[in-house]
Symmetry: C2
Amino acid sequence: MTEAGVEDLRKELLFSALRGSDGDSSLAFTIFRELATSIVEGRLRPGHEVNSAELARRFSTSRTPVREALLLLERESLVIVPPRRRPYVSPVDMRQVREIYEIRGSLYGLVSELVVARATDEEIDGLRAWQKVLADDAERGDVHGYFWHNVGFRNAEASLSQNGELQRRLSSLGLQMHRFRHLSLSLPGRLLHSVADHERLVNAYADRDAPLAAAVSRSLVLRGYRAIERSGQV
Amino acid sequence: MTEAGVEDLRKELLFSALRGSDGDSSLAFTIFRELATSIVEGRLRPGHEVNSAELARRFSTSRTPVREALLLLERESLVIVPPRRRPYVSPVDMRQVREIYEIRGSLYGLVSELVVARATDEEIDGLRAWQKVLADDAERGDVHGYFWHNVGFRNAEASLSQNGELQRRLSSLGLQMHRFRHLSLSLPGRLLHSVADHERLVNAYADRDAPLAAAVSRSLVLRGYRAIERSGQV
DNA sequence: CTCTCCCGAAGTGTCGACACCTTGCGAATA
DNA sequence: TATTCGCAAGGTGTCGACACTTCGGGAGAG
């Protein structure tokens, strides 16, 4: 699992949110991906106004594909497009963070139940492999690696749920979450707690204990929320 | 609660899915609402090809607003827009039905937990009032009324969860679900089971019993799924 | 008779233009 | 000086047009 592997996960994150929308060609989608990345990674600040004419110049296109890109961004709740007014990068406040974490906690609880019901033993071994990588990252204090490998673990779980709609919704939520999620893991002591939870989760999978897996999975998400809440930042 | 009240709920259903998108004026949105209604109510069959040029003629506009409307429909998973190909009304298969019910069950479980935690006693009394209307509909065998009052009950619950993101996602799911949900309730005996579950749910609210409320709420959704599954129709 | 290739009809993606609306600055007024 | 009104600049929503792609049928080869 090299640094290149981490880079792949980064691409994958944005890719999966795309699925079900336009093809990956088309100007609109290219612009969408570019802007989505900028927003998620914080280069475009909340509240920043996005001007369709200016974007059209920047990407050397007309305003039509830009408009469509803005609609795609709105669908991911990254941009707000008020009627007849300038679109702007959607703000993130503490309330929205809480709301998203609540939803995510519930849905990952569901994922865990479905994994218990549907994954093969080999697939659960695969999850354990991910978990080992996480433990290793934590031991080395590699927050960046931990962050993205965690994304990988989550994606793997979601895929094992055998519920495509669920996967799509989670990746959409994930896109939004990555605007503030890094805050959670950079707090001292978080990594070790998180590692312990992951281990408990994988064990619950191996024991085919659906209620326990769901509870651990959910508390894992909520622990992340409480960390952000306590830090007071957003 | 007259027939007009039912009609209002119908509008509300489609309205709430709109929120967060374009304003309610704008041609694109008008076209979106019109087509969404047609699809949800079954006048536009799954697989039916939608031609942007023809729609433009029908609504006396250019193709630009039509294209945007199609993107909005795609966001609600009502239409599939393959790149460079004709868009068509998205098909519904048994797998997708299962996936959506699984998600909805989980999210309504969350709603119930949040209602227990956040709703006032008066608000819970309000839910009991809805429940009484449902019981009345069931006794009279009024499937149509029951169907839409059920939507009202669900919306009321969602609103009490004090989680706007959750509300938005549920109403989006609800839009999709209404393409096949009516199948569930028209099965014999369903209404009475459903009424009993609603009563247990409201009682759990009154007792502030979060785990019970969540479990009942979820099983209520899943029972609907199993009814469709057994009927074999889609 | 079947299969392949080609071509025309039709549809999509993109473009530049135009009218209307919003917004912020500055002039006119009290 | 503070406040209101009006206007100009800039932006959005919509339009009609054009090139490229896809799809289906029909001609021609085997």
